[in-house]
């Protein structure tokens, strides 16, 4: 990710000195046009990104009270959030979910991408479309479907287990809820990540494979020694996005809440907690503080993932 931040555009300013026909008037025109072209995006960005963010910070410094309305509270909301054991239980729960879900999904995605890229597959096109199809399903619908499938009485898994005289796991119970949620997200996003990795694999030069074949590398050797290292940037991208998505877990637990109200409480994930605090308890300041604490956690984790991978991935 680091080199994205450096300027990779050709010959900045140098064009003038090298006599490439870049007159100062042309540069001035480019500058004006450049600013005009980015203006619509950045104006919207300012209004719907920076302004809400600043407002959220402002809100987080105030508390809503039953008597006396909204009063300045300094960092009290943050103190309350950091000391809130429910929040940290939610954070730990979400991390456990992430440790389970992200590697499972990405390994599956990688294997699918390698299989699609191997050229050894029959009906390759069918597979390519098939694995991507769940991405067209909104996560709300995915959660609704899996909610029915998980059903303890009428769900097909329970029916099948019943038919062979066994009992299926109680998918929506305290014990199974995290794996059950992880499965819904894996089902929805596995194919999407597989296609990103597959597209990256298509970009790897075939010459590298041929060279490896000369060196006596088998198909698995080529996958391990050449293909996977070559798509490291794409893997990192999917990893970072998955980590960010995981920590923001909201939709699936919110839908499952109606199915298992005793298992999924209002503070099940930090995002759910922020939502409930704002819209059920009208504690906007506290909700904003939770969001900022969560934001900080996300930044720390994304940064850690990027740094660790960069260190491991650097050429020896």
């Amino acid at each position: 990710m680091a080199d994205v931040l450096t300027d990779t555009a050709p010959a900045p300013e140098g064009g003038v000195a090298s006599g490439g026909g870049k007159k100062p008037s042309v540069l001035r025109r480019e500058r004006t046009a450049g600013l005009l072209f980015v203006l619509p995006f950045f104006a919207t960005f300012l209004v719907f990104f920076f302004l809400p963010l600043a407002y959220a910070f402002y809100l987080s410094l105030y508390q809503e009270q039953l008597v006396g309305g909204t009063v300045f509270a300094g960092l009290d909301n943050y103190k309350q959030a950091v000391e809130d054991s429910e929040l940290w239980t939610g954070v730990r729960r979400t991390l456990f979910y992430g440790i389970l879900q992200v590697p499972t999904m990405l390994i599956m995605s990688l294997l699918i991408a390698l299989a699609l890229d191997s050229g050894n597959l029959r009906a390759e096109k069918l597979f390519r479309i098939g694995v991507f199809l769940p991405y067209a399903v909104p996560s709300v619908i995915a959660a609704l479907m899996w909610g029915y499938l998980y059903g303890p009485d009428f769900g097909p898994f329970a029916q099948l287990a019943d038919y062979v005289g066994q009992s299926a796991p109680r998918f929506l119970s305290e014990t199974w809820i995290i794996p059950s949620l992880a499965n819904v997200a894996t089902w929805t996003y596995c194919g999407y990540n597989a296609i990103i990795l597959y597209a990256a694999l298509r970009g790897v030069s075939p010459e590298l494979y041929e060279a490896a074949a000369i060196d006596g590398c088998g198909a698995f050797g080529v996958a391990w020694h050449i293909k996977i290292p070559s798509i490291a940037p794409a893997l990192l991208l999917t990893l970072v996005f998955s980590v960010i998505g995981t920590l923001q877990l909201f939709v699936e637990p919110q839908i499952f809440q109606t199915l298992a109200p005793t298992v999924i409480g209002p503070a099940f994930t930090p995002n759910l907690y922020a939502y409930t605090s704002a819209f059920t308890n009208q504690a906007y300041g506290f909700s904003a503080a939770i969001s900022f604490v969560l934001g900080a956690i996300i930044v720390v984790f994304s940064y850690a993932v990027i740094t660790l991978s960069a260190r491991r991935g650097s050429p020896s």
Partner: protein, 308 residues
């Protein structure tokens, strides 16, 4: 590494290496049955819930609970279910579909155009601060949705925009990831010399963008359009927060509200088959779009992945 060696042909591999024929080119005729079987197992996993959805939408509410979930029951109620979905609550479901379409098309179209213009400028035009701008946009991807959505709700409620379509559309116009993709795409796809030639011919900067750069960016643009379309079509959190009048709901929020009514019971048992059939209908448009626009999402995803 032997990467510097001249491009090895298939013949070269045959004579040089072990007596195994290895051809790593894309469409080698070496089909593997075990691999195909493994992938078929994965495909069963991906298709299973969708198959269940199709099967279940042919059942009435009673059969939904009394028959085996993964096979058809004796009756075929698909058409009466569809009719029921579109007539229940004065046909509000049809409105939800229209709302979703309007929100998705307007938001995705707007977001993609903003991203394309800004991405082109950041990639091809020289001006002060553009690296900083790009870095800020990249960093913004990490901000959690709630951190923005809840204060946006409060801000919009101050100016009376809550519970209107604009409350959903306006915040969706910002797509940092779209800008990232467009910038990376424009960097490679837009020819510097064509821009120069057009400038010498006296073309205006906007004309250059529209008639030259945008054409070259078209495949990337369609990809961004497709992804922002999916993102807004599938969006749940933002409309859930912004809207309280069911007539403005998109289909995701609407179905979730039916679902919670169904689970709350109270004589609304019949809602379950509505949720199931409604879900099936709601995923058809995007599925069809994906099947038709395959080459765009496949090539476009490569841009983001390889260049990250």
């Amino acid at each position: 590494m032997t990467a510097g060696a001249p491009p090895a042909s298939a013949e070269l591999v045959e004579t040089d290496g072990p007596p195994v024929k290895r051809d790593w080119r894309p469409h080698a005729e070496r089909r593997s049955a075990p691999l195909t079987l493994l992938m078929a197992a994965a495909l069963v996993y991906f298709f299973l819930p969708l198959f269940w959805l199709i099967v279940s939408s042919t059942k009435d509410n009673e059969a939904l609970f009394n028959s085996f979930g993964l096979w058809f029951s004796s009756q075929f109620n698909l058409f009466s279910n569809v009719k029921e979905v579109f007539t229940f609550n004065d046909g509000v479901y049809g409105r939800w579909l229209v709302n979703t379409t309007v929100y998705a098309v307007v938001s995705a179209g707007g977001a993609s155009i903003l991203a394309a213009m800004a991405g082109y400028a950041l990639a091809k035009l020289r001006f002060r601060g553009r690296n900083l701008m790009f870095a800020i946009v990249l960093g913004s991807i990490m901000v959690p949705a709630t951190a923005l959505t809840i204060p946006t709700y409060l801000l919009l409620s101050n100016i009376g925009l809550i519970d209107t379509p604009l409350a959903v559309i306006l915040p969706s116009l910002v797509s940092p990831f779209g800008l990232y993709l467009m910038k990376v795409y424009a960097q490679d796809a837009v020819s510097e010399s064509l821009l120069e030639a057009a400038r010498i011919d006296g073309a205006g900067e906007f004309g250059i963008f529209w008639r030259i750069a945008f054409r070259q960016m078209a495949p990337g643009f369609v990809t961004v359009l497709l992804f922002t379309l999916v993102a807004t079509w599938n969006n749940y959190f933002l409309p859930l927060v912004m809207l309280s009048d069911p007539k403005y709901y998109p289909v995701t929020v609407g179905l979730a509200s039916w679902n919670s009514q169904a689970n709350a019971g109270g004589g609304s048992q019949a809602l379950f088959s509505l949720v199931v059939t409604g879900s099936l209908i709601s995923i058809i448009p995007l599925t069809v779009a994906f099947l038709m626009l395959q080459r765009y999402w496949q090539s476009g995803l490569g841009v983001g992945g390889v260049k990250a």
